[in-house]
Symmetry: C2
Subunit: 166 residues, 2 copies
């Protein structure tokens, strides 16, 4: 069972999620070590909470969770932690949901595209060479120098769509 594939996909409901989390954490750790970044207890904890599912999760949900953990935390705590994780490419922010999700390619400074299921809430990050080219093409026509991209496609995933007419 593989956690992620080359071009991105929705996780099977039967996938070995522990290995997703393990891989993500290991990758994050490696990236931090390589770049002299401190993956503190708090940061690791939050990253792990984010990876608890493949669903984007809100800042205040995370805040409650780390507060429950014997710690009491205020908003800046979680937002600072999220900033760190975002800044170093360990997570992504889903603007259309004001929520955060683990990055499947930790550390790479790639731009991410997401397909997000309205029904199960899961999100698939795709390595969008095709989409990327299309955007570049339009940008070129406009003489536009591309910065940060936000590509979030809501809809219904294959899993939910098939269960629909049972």
């Amino acid at each position: 069972m593989v956690a992620t594939k080359v071009k991105g996909c929705f996780p099977s409901p039967h996938h070995d999620h522990h290995s997703c989390v393990a891989a993500a954490l290991a990758s994050a750790e490696a990236h931090c070590t390589a770049n002299s970044l401190r993956l503190t207890e708090l940061r690791r904890q939050v990253l792990e909470l984010i990876w608890a599912s493949h669903r984007p999760v809100g800042a205040y949900t995370l805040l409650e969770q780390i507060s429950g953990n014997g710690r009491k935390a205020a908003p800046p705590t979680i937002y600072r932690t999220l900033s760190f994780l975002l800044e170093h490419g360990l997570i992504h922010r889903i603007a259309s949901l004001n929520a955060y999700i683990g990055c499947s390619h930790s550390g790479d400074d790639h731009t991410a595209r997401f397909f997000i299921c309205d029904q199960c809430g899961e999100a698939a990050e795709v390595d969008g060479t095709v989409i990327d080219e299309a955007i570049s093409k339009d940008a070129q026509r406009l003489g536009f120098r591309i910065g940060k991209q936000t590509v979030e496609v809501a809809g219904v995933c294959a899993e939910c769509d098939s269960g629909r007419d049972k």
Copy 2:
């Protein structure tokens, strides 16, 4: 001078903006008439304020503006109005900015893609057949049924980019 082109573009700094507004308002009016929708004074006013520029504008900015206009308004007023305009395709919401911008193709139930300049703040809505195909392609691969799309590319527009090294 033309307000909008077929595939979308950044407005020239010298374009005749009055004609943009006039066209947008006329188009909105036509759409509302055709669909038995009530483009009330408030709605028209807000739409006009949104069209005051080609920059996405925040809800509370609009709120201040309609409040200044002899009226005093609370948040629900502006949000209800924005909901109406969004629902009927007269404006778009820019998720990455929590802001709103006039729709160049009023009434069509098209999905919009935006290029947004970080420097001047202007946004160009493009009719993204190319981007659309790319997204459809990935969606098909995933077995994903596409719903609402959010495609917002930040960066620097040609105008600002050229002025940059003066």
